[in-house]
Amino acid sequence: MAERKFLNGNYALAAAVKLAAPEVIAAYPITPQSSIVEKLAEFVSNGELEADFIKVESEHSALAACYGAASTGCRVFTATSSQGLAYMAEMLPYVSGNRFPVVMAVANRGLAAPWTIWGDHQDAVSMRDHGWIQLHVENAQEALDTCLQAYKLAEHPGVLTPVMVCLDGFVLSHTEELVEVPTAEEVKGFLPPYEPMHAVDMNNPTTFCIGAGPDVFTEYKYSQQLGMEAALELIPEIAAEFAEKFGRNHGGLIESYSCEDAEYILVSMGSVTGTARVVADQLRSEGVKAGILKLRAFRPFPIQAVSQVIKRAKGIGVLDRDYSYGNEGALATEVKAALYGSDVRPSVTNFIAGLGGRDILPSDIREMFAVLERSVSQPGSVKPVNFVGLRWQR
C-alpha cells in the first residue's frame, strides 16, 4: 500500500530516487538541494538503498562521476542548484552527447551576483541548450512522480537523453506537503530495470566519446534532436501511463486550467502555478475569462501544445522567473516563437517576477491580468516586458 506522509519537495524526490534504485549517486552539497542527497545518504547508511554514494569534491566531478558510472550501463542520480549547476555546465553536453540517461534534480535558485540562495529559474533556464530534457514541477507530489517518470523517459531507447527534474528552491524544496509514496512493488510495474543499449564491456571493447570531424559531428547532434522529438511524444504518454497506475496526472508537456474559453491566459512554470490558479478562479467569479497554462516541459519545448491552447485568447501573459539579459524573459521568447506559425497571434506581454526568491503574491497575479486586459483594450499602452513590483526604476 502506498503511504501518505508529510514530506518536503526534497524528501519527496529522495523517496522517488530510492524507488528508482540507482547504483551510483554522486553529489556535492549546495543550498537548497543538499537535503535531497542527505536523505539518500541516510537511505544508503541504513540499508534502505543499495547504492554507492560518492561524496565528490565539486559539482563538476559529481556529473563526471555520473558520466563514468552511466557508461557502465547502470542507473545514476545527482542533484544540484544554481552555481553548482553552472559549475557542471561543461559536463552537461558530455552527458547528453553520449546519450547517458542521467537523472538530476535541480532545486532551482538564482544565480549570483549579487549572491542569493533563494529560488528562481535562472539556473536551469540558462542551461537550456545543453541537450537535457527539463521538466519543471509544481508541488512535492509532482516532484516525486516526475522523478519516476524521468527515469522511464530518459532510459527509453528512442530518447536516451538526460533529464533535469526542476523544483523551486525553498517554496518546494523545503515546504512540507502531504505526499503519497508508492511502494517498490507498485513502481516495479511502471519503471523496469534499465537495459542499456551501449555500455563498457570487456568482451566487446568500444570507445566512448571519441573525436568526431565535420563529416559526422552534425549527425550526432541531429540524433540528439531526434531523441528530443521522441521525448515530445513520450512525455504525455508516460504521464498517462503513470496516471493509470497511480491515479495522479500532473499534465504531460503542459497543463491547462480554464483555458478553453479564456480571453486572457497566463503562462507559468513551477510552484507559482498554484497561486495563479486560485487567482484565475477569483477572476472568473468576477466575470474575467482568465486561464492558466502551466509549462511542465521546458525542453523539449511543446510548440504545438502551447500554441493550440493559447492562440484563441486575446491577451497572453508570460511569467518569467528568469531573464535573458539584452532581450526578455526566456519563456516569453519561446511562447512568442510557438505562436509564429499560428493562424492567429494574440498579443504577448512578459512579466518578470519572483527573482531571487521574491514572493509572487496573488495581488501580483491580479495585476498581471489587469495589464493583459489593458494590452487588449488599449493596444500600445503596455510595455512588452514588465518587471513586477519594482521598488526602484529609472
Binding site: E23, V24, A26, E50, A51, D52, I54, K55, V56, E57, S58, H60, S61, A62, A64, A65, C66, Y67, G68, A69, A70, S71, T72, C74, V76, E90, M91, Y94, V200, D201, M202, P205, T206, T207, F208, C209, I210, G211, A212, G213, D215, V216
Partner: protein
Amino acid sequence: MLEEIKSIKKAPVEEYYVPGHRTCAGCGPALQYRLVAKAAGPNTIFLGPTGCMYVANTSYGCGPWAVPWIHAQITNGGAVASGIEAAYKAMIRKHKTDAEFPNIIVMAGDGGSADIGIQALSAAFYRGHNILFVAYDNESYANTGIQTSPTTPYGAWTTFSPAGPVIPEGKKLMPKDLPKIMAHGHPELKYLATASLSYPLDLMNKVRKGLNANGPAFLYIHAPCPKGWSFPADKTVEIGKLAVETGMFQLYELDGGEYKLTYKPRELKPVSEYIKYQGRFSHLQPEHIEKLQQFANQRLKEVGIEAVAAPAE
C-alpha cells in the same frame, strides 16, 4: 593478481595499445602507453582525459585500443574513474553483472594531473577508489601547441614562456613535484611510483604493482616529447635515460609507506649532458644551467642520493 614480469623477454607478446593513432614520430607518451597497456592486459578500461593521448588517439572510427576506452575531461580523470569504479562495485554487489572487477586506468597528461586535473585526482585518492592513475609527464601542454605546465622544467622554452631579453631563461618557475604531492596527504594511497619509458621492465612491473594494490595507485611516468622539447625523433629513449642519469628524474616507489629507489645511477652525469640535446634549453646561460643543476641535486637529495658535483664538459 598480475604476476611480476621477470625479464623484458618474458613480457607479454599481446598488445592492447595498437596501431591506429596519429602521434608524432618518436612520441614518448605513445611509447609508455603501449607499455602500460601491455602490462595491464585485457581486463582493462582506459580513461583518457583531454591531452595528447586523447587528441592524437581519437580520430573518428580509428582508435588504438583493444580494450574499452572512455574520454574523461581534462579536469576530471579522477572523478570519471570514481564513477566507473563505484558502478562496477555496486553492480557486482547487486549481481547485475557477471564481469570481473576491471583494471581502471586513467591516462592523464601533466595538465590533467598536476594542474587542472589535480582537484579530481586528489579527491579520488582521498576517497580510496580502486584505480590506477597514470600521469604521463611530457612537461607541457603539448596537444595545444607546447604551452608551459606546472611540470615544465625551469628554463624551458614553451610558447607561453618564450626566452627574450627581459626574461632570458624562458620559464622562471621551478616545477611542481606531483608524486610528492600525491604521496603525502592521501591516507588511502596504496601504491605510488615514478617510472620512465626508457626503463620498460621497471615501468611494466610498477603498473602491475599498482593494479594489484587494491586501492588508489599513482604512477608518474616521464615521457619525453620530441616536438615539444626539440630533439630528434629517434632520441626519445636516450633522452629518457639521460633524465634519470643526470638526476633530472628519479625512479622510486612508495610501497607500504616506505620509499625505495628502484634505480640508482652508477655515476651521475651533469645536467648539461641532458639539456644539450634539447632545443627548448638552447638559450640558457651558465647561471641558468647552474640553477637547474641545483634543482636536480635537491630532488636527488630528497630521495637519498647525494649528488657529486660533476665537472661540466
